[in-house]
Symmetry: C2
């Protein structure tokens, strides 16, 4: 019905407007409220989009814990500037021990139908890097594997030394991408809104000689909820650039060329995947 | 005299302590109060170490302006999360126009006596990258050039499209390194203390559809002073890892190997120069 109405509506519009509409419909995609988490911090709200295609079991786990209110009131207890903000319940507490261990989800196998938007070949850490639905991924055509990259603002489960030991503790990367953690930690989502509030989380780690931070100052999560479980009016309606669209792919080519006059000398025609923007916009 | 006293003192210490002292003396170097800027923000103090070896005229300019109290009370008016926090006087104001234009300082010529600590060859943007006195630099042995890199926390002068147009407006990088700006902008220092306060600067840029930030909320610099011009008790005494020391070079080799059991699979034996720590410590 909606499509029919749209078709009828289009008949009354000039062709240029139709083209613009068609372009826009393809350039952006909605963030599903069932696949997004709203974390409320003292300075504002953060929205995390989950990545079930890459880390299905970690997404199920995080979603279950969020629905239980598991993280409400818990602290970011390990916050290192330029690295990560890590949170979870008190180590060794009954709450902490109540959660079972998860098997690591490092890579997915890419069948012949798998596709993504290639951004750069042979960066320091991977044979290919690009975007899949706005998530920065590594790709090995030879090994037929893909994996989520540790760009700034990703969320991943913490673990002990052994790989299959993640439970409920998670971290969000807050500095230069620690790509050496790629494929040995399970990334399961990324911040798509409110990263400045993640950056405002109280650091708990100080340099040698500086005054330690009292635990009473640690940043707490006021609440962590699935977007879909919030009243409609409190939901944050977001759209993300469709990284598979022709428009987005064209923007990557332009970005490599840097044709703007500001670039009076051109930089090397390469892109750092973690420094390549994928825009979010708010829909009222 | 101090050296003599130290020598006498050493005679009374066991050999292992002497070895430890000798090691430490080489592992760390002091930040000179004449070469450091203390920027006071509402959340705390930031220390910037200047890089006169690379950008002598920009360092002279910034030092002159700081000594005049030029930046005191000015705002960060262009703050983009994951990119830069930019500050300066009101565009086009008499104060803004009072400052003359500077020639860009992109690269230095490296003579045969020039040396630095190589960290990685052939990263995406440069044939070689490494550290010179704790500053991340690019190096081209073929072109005999070196330059400061746009890692997170560097300070650089803003400019118009034409290269020789920097005056007083500066930015501090606050996200994934925008390395495409290397060699076309003049970096002249880096934050060595208080980066979390730079990260807490009010963002002025919002996503499409979000509420614009009122200018009354912009973050101001309460004061910006040369460390040497502060009363002794207000100075922040810092030491930085000596990136030329054998100990530091050994730490780079270890970091590439990732021998800790946490790395149950080893990442590629490479280092992202902007994600390689150079520690600061506070000396009481």
């Amino acid at each position: 019905m909606k499509n029919l109405l749209t078709s009828l509506l289009l008949l009354t519009l000039p062709l240029s407007v139709i083209a613009e509409k068609a372009k826009e419909a393809n350039q952006w995609r909605s963030v599903s409220a069932e696949n997004a988490v709203v974390m409320e911090l003292s300075t504002g709200k953060v929205v995390i989009e989950l990545a079930p295609e890459f880390s299905p079991n970690h997404v199920i786990r995080y979603t279950q814990l969020v629905k239980q209110g598991f993280y409400d009131g818990e602290s970011f207890y390990r916050v290192i500037d330029g690295f990560v903000a890590q949170a979870g319940p008190q180590d060794g507490s009954p709450k902490d021990k109540s959660v079972t261990k998860l098997n690591i989800e490092e890579t997915i196998t890419t069948g012949k139908d798998w596709s993504y938007t290639l951004v750069q070949e042979n960066d320091l850490f991977a044979p290919q890097v690009g975007f899949k639905n706005g998530f920065a991924v590594g790709h090995s055509p030879q090994e037929k594997q893909a994996w989520l990259l540790h760009c700034p603002g990703v969320i991943a489960m913490a673990r002990e030394s052994s790989p299959n030991t993640a439970t409920s503790h998670f971290y969000i990367t807050n500095g230069q991408a620690p790509r050496y953690l790629d494929k040995i930690m399970t990334v399961f989502g990324r911040v798509v809104y409110g990263m400045e509030h993640v950056q405002a989380i109280q650091r708990t780690s100080v340099i040698d000689g500086d005054t330690p931070i009292d635990k009473s100052r640690y940043s707490k999560m006021l609440s962590v909820k699935m977007m879909a479980d919030l009243p409609e009016k409190q939901q944050i309606k977001l759209e993300i650039q469709n990284t598979d669209s022709a428009t987005y792919k064209q923007s990557l080519i332009s970005r490599k060329k840097r044709e703007n006059a500001f670039f009076y000398k051109k930089p090397p025609p390469v892109l750092d995947i973690c420094q390549t923007p994928v825009k979010t916009r708010l829909v009222k």
